[in-house]
């Protein structure tokens, strides 16, 4: 089961331990297969689209498909870690917007070199993330409410920075570099840093003590504290990392579309959350894996791209996003429920001596 129910059953004690243990292995089995299910769905979608949709399997389409996915994939990485700890960051798209307009304004008026501006923008993104982190960990406020606040605040500030104007006169060598392919392949070079970061986040989440600690806090904040994990500090740095990645996406977005505007990336936060949940991360924390999230991002991108090529209205495609998300939470729950019911029936058939 990829997602916990909101009202978890009260912890059973004594005679129920057997049953709980049985249920837990059931959960783990269903959850372990979730990553595989998403990957299988992805492979299936690519195959079907490649055979049946015209122009899907062309180099040009692959390039655009991957370029469109770069911001989503980047933002989904820190979001995965944050959701695993049981928090959420809804301000990512607004942070991208603010970083983008700051980049435009700095380029317009500061006279700094573009290299320096890019570094500054990533740092600024980190600072914006630190504000979220401060409110959540320093003041102990719910991240859902805090980041809805900064969602409005940062988007508002990004309009304050540039108004309704756009800065578009970035040097052509830079904007071309953002969409350039790896020589000899249809794969954009921008995919490489995404892969690198995915590797870094994956290793942190799955192969370090910090990563284990993230799961621990997602399952139970207090227990993690008693186990010696510095919950507040870890969460704070997660929000900083999320902000810095937003800065990076802001730079990429600005260069790719050669335009810094206040409304850049509006509404992207919900798509990012969708991708993360589709990847099998529990909204209540404590469960999920990065591989599933990467597969979820790709699945979302492939389906949207293929249907768009098949002439489905781009806006109506949101049905697909919504249906996928709902299916991703209802199906594992239904399966786990069924298994639990079968298990209980089997137990009732041959009762275990206490």
């Amino acid at each position: 089961m990829a997602h916990d129910s909101l009202y978890a059953a009260p912890p059973s004690a004594g005679t129920d331990t057997e049953q709980t243990a049985g249920r837990l292995t059931g959960l783990r089995a269903a959850f372990g297969s979730w990553d595989a299910a998403v990957v299988a769905a992805l492979v299936l979608a690519v195959l079907v689209a490649g055979v049946s949709v015209q122009n899907f399997a062309t180099g040009r389409n692959v390039q655009f498909l991957l370029l469109d996915l770069v911001p989503l994939a980047l933002l989904a990485l820190p979001m995965t870690l944050i959701v695993v700890t049981g928090e959420i960051d809804l301000s990512v798209a607004s942070t991208v917007g603010l970083c983008s307009t700051l980049m435009g304004q700095l380029w317009l008026s500061s006279g700094l070199s573009l290299e320096l501006i890019c570094v500054l923008v990533v740092l600024l993104g980190g600072v914006l993330g630190a504000v979220n982190g401060l409110f959540v960990t320093g003041f102990g406020l719910p991240s859902l409410a805090v980041t809805i606040g900064t969602l409005a605040l940062y988007r508002g500030l990004s309009f304050v920075v540039l108004g309704d104007q756009a800065v578009a006169d970035f040097p052509a060598s830079w904007t071309a570099a953002a969409v350039r392919n790896i020589p000899g392949t249809p794969i954009p070079a921008a995919v490489l840093p995404v892969l690198l970061l995915a590797l870094v986040f994956g290793v942190v989440l799955h192969a370090t003590t910090t990563g284990r600690a993230l799961y621990a806090m997602g399952n139970n904040d207090q227990a993690a504290t008693f186990a010696g994990v510095s919950v507040a500090r870890t969460k704070f740095w997660l929000f900083v990392a999320s902000g810095a990645v937003c800065g990076l996406v802001g730079v990429f977005w600005t260069l790719r579309y050669a335009s810094a505007r206040g409304d850049n990336a509006t509404g992207l936060e919900l798509t990012v959350v969708t991708a993360v949940l589709l990847g099998g991360v529990s909204i209540f924390g404590g469960r999920g894996a990065l591989l599933g999230v990467v597969a979820g991002v790709l699945l979302l991108g492939v389906l949207r791209n293929a249907l768009q090529l098949a002439d489905v209205d781009a806006n109506a495609l949101t049905i697909v996003t919504g249906a996928l998300l709902i299916a991703s939470v209802v199906l594992p729950n239904a399966v786990a429920d069924l298994r639990a019911r079968l298990h209980r029936r089997r137990q009732r058939a041959n009762p275990v001596a206490p």
Binding site: H3, D4, S5, L6, Y7, P10, L90, F135, F139, G140, L141, P142, L144, A145, V146, I148, G149, T150, L151, A152, L153, Y154, R155, G156, L157, F159, V160, G163, D164, G262, T266, G267, L270, V273, T274, L277, I283, F284, D313, N315, A316, L317, T318, I319, V320, T321, G322, A323, L324, L325, I326, V329, V330, N333, A334, D337
Partner: protein, 353 residues
């Protein structure tokens, strides 16, 4: 989460036993704790400052525009309060509003002679149906509300786009009696706002005085305890989502009446504004606390800030930033008050022992 004064049972009990308490909370603190009062004060201060700057801010037309502007947000915020109080959230309200608004327009296109109350009822019914889809998925399949309503946010909006297929419905396609609903006034007060006031009063009274309403707070405070004390949690949560959907449907019909021009994008992004209004209005995001009156005042305050900025000649681009800062201030204040109240209660029980 927060302990704003909404008359939660433990709050009332605490006050009854506070007769011998020497360290009573200070005046300002108690004033701040009654969120409705502090919101009214903030609203009053805002209106006063704006009027001092430009006395036409309180002229009849300007006030009418203001009331018209906030009515739809108020209705949605009240629906959202019902949901958030039970420790859930409904992110699909903007999409339901858009779907129902477009549906109402298409209905008049197909049957021009239809009396508007029928359209109103049908719109509310469609909203309730959408809400039932949300509630059904959440209560039966036991899936978190945030995830499900995020999914239906996309699904309902997608259905809307699919159905509209790029068409636009204009005011000319709708009967005049229906459009009059959107801008008619009774004694200078827009009908739209009166409807919103009725909704606020009914929901506010239900939450405060009815057993069903009190049970919603119990569910939001601690779902497990609520279940153990015999409250039908699943059924209540389902009903709350149906109510929220129905109110979003009502808002959708009113949206159609007010704006006349409809496409599939109506109400996009409204959900976060609605949650913001509720949070500013003192509805704790993790349930169990808050009132419909507060949420409604929050919605009015957010709308007023928008028009005040224009009058004060502040760059309108600041509006969203101010709203964001206000949300952070509101939840920060709640937290501070909750901590102080908790400390005081601790001190009292220590002396009592």
């Amino acid at each position: 989460m927060s302990l704003t004064d909404t008359g939660t049972p433990d709050d009332l009990a605490g006050r009854r036993s506070s007769g011998d308490d020497r360290r009573r909370p200070g005046f300002t603190e108690r004033l701040l704790a009654v969120r409705e009062l502090s919101l009214l004060l903030a609203l009053g201060a805002l209106v006063l400052v704006t009027t001092l700057r430009n006395d036409r801010f309180l002229s009849g037309q300007s006030v009418k525009d203001l009331l018209l502007g906030c009515a739809i947000l108020v209705i949605l915020a009240v629906g959202q309060t019902l949901v958030i109080v039970t420790r859930n959230v409904d992110l699909s309200v903007g999409s339901i509003l858009g779907l129902v608004a477009f549906c109402t327009g298409s209905l008049f296109l197909a049957a021009p002679g239809l009396p508007w109350p029928v359209a109103l009822l049908l719109g509310v019914a469609l909203g309730a149906l959408c809400g039932a889809v949300n509630g059904g998925l959440i209560a039966v399949a036991k899936v978190p509300a945030l995830v499900i309503t995020l999914g239906t946010l996309y699904a309902f909006r997608g259905i809307d786009y699919y159905w509209a297929a790029g068409r636009q419905i204009n005011a000319a396609d709708m009967p005049r009696s229906f459009l009059r609903l959107g801008n008619q006034t009774v004694l200078g007060v827009p009908v739209l706002f009166l409807i919103a006031v009725v909704v606020v009063a009914v929901v506010g009274y239900y939450l405060r005085a009815y057993r069903g309403g009190r049970e919603l707070y119990a569910i939001g405070s601690e779902p497990a305890a609520a279940r153990l004390s015999g409250i039908p949690v699943g059924r209540r949560v389902f009903a709350v989502f149906v109510a929220s959907g129905a109110l979003a449907g009502l808002a959708g019909v009113l949206y159609a009446a007010r704006f006349g021009t409809l496409d599939a994008a109506a109400g996009t992004g409204l959900e976060l504004q609605v949650v913001a209004a509720a949070v500013v209005g003192g509805v704790a995001i993790f349930g169990g606390s808050g009132s419909a009156y507060g949420a409604a005042l929050g919605a009015v305050l957010l709308t007023t800030i928008g028009s005040s900025l224009a009058v004060l000649r502040i760059d309108p681009f600041w509006q969203q930033a101010v709203v964001g800062a206000l949300i952070l201030a509101a939840i920060g204040l709640d937290r501070l008050l909750a901590l102080r109240t908790a400390a005081r209660l601790r001190g009292r029980s220590a002396r009592g022992a």
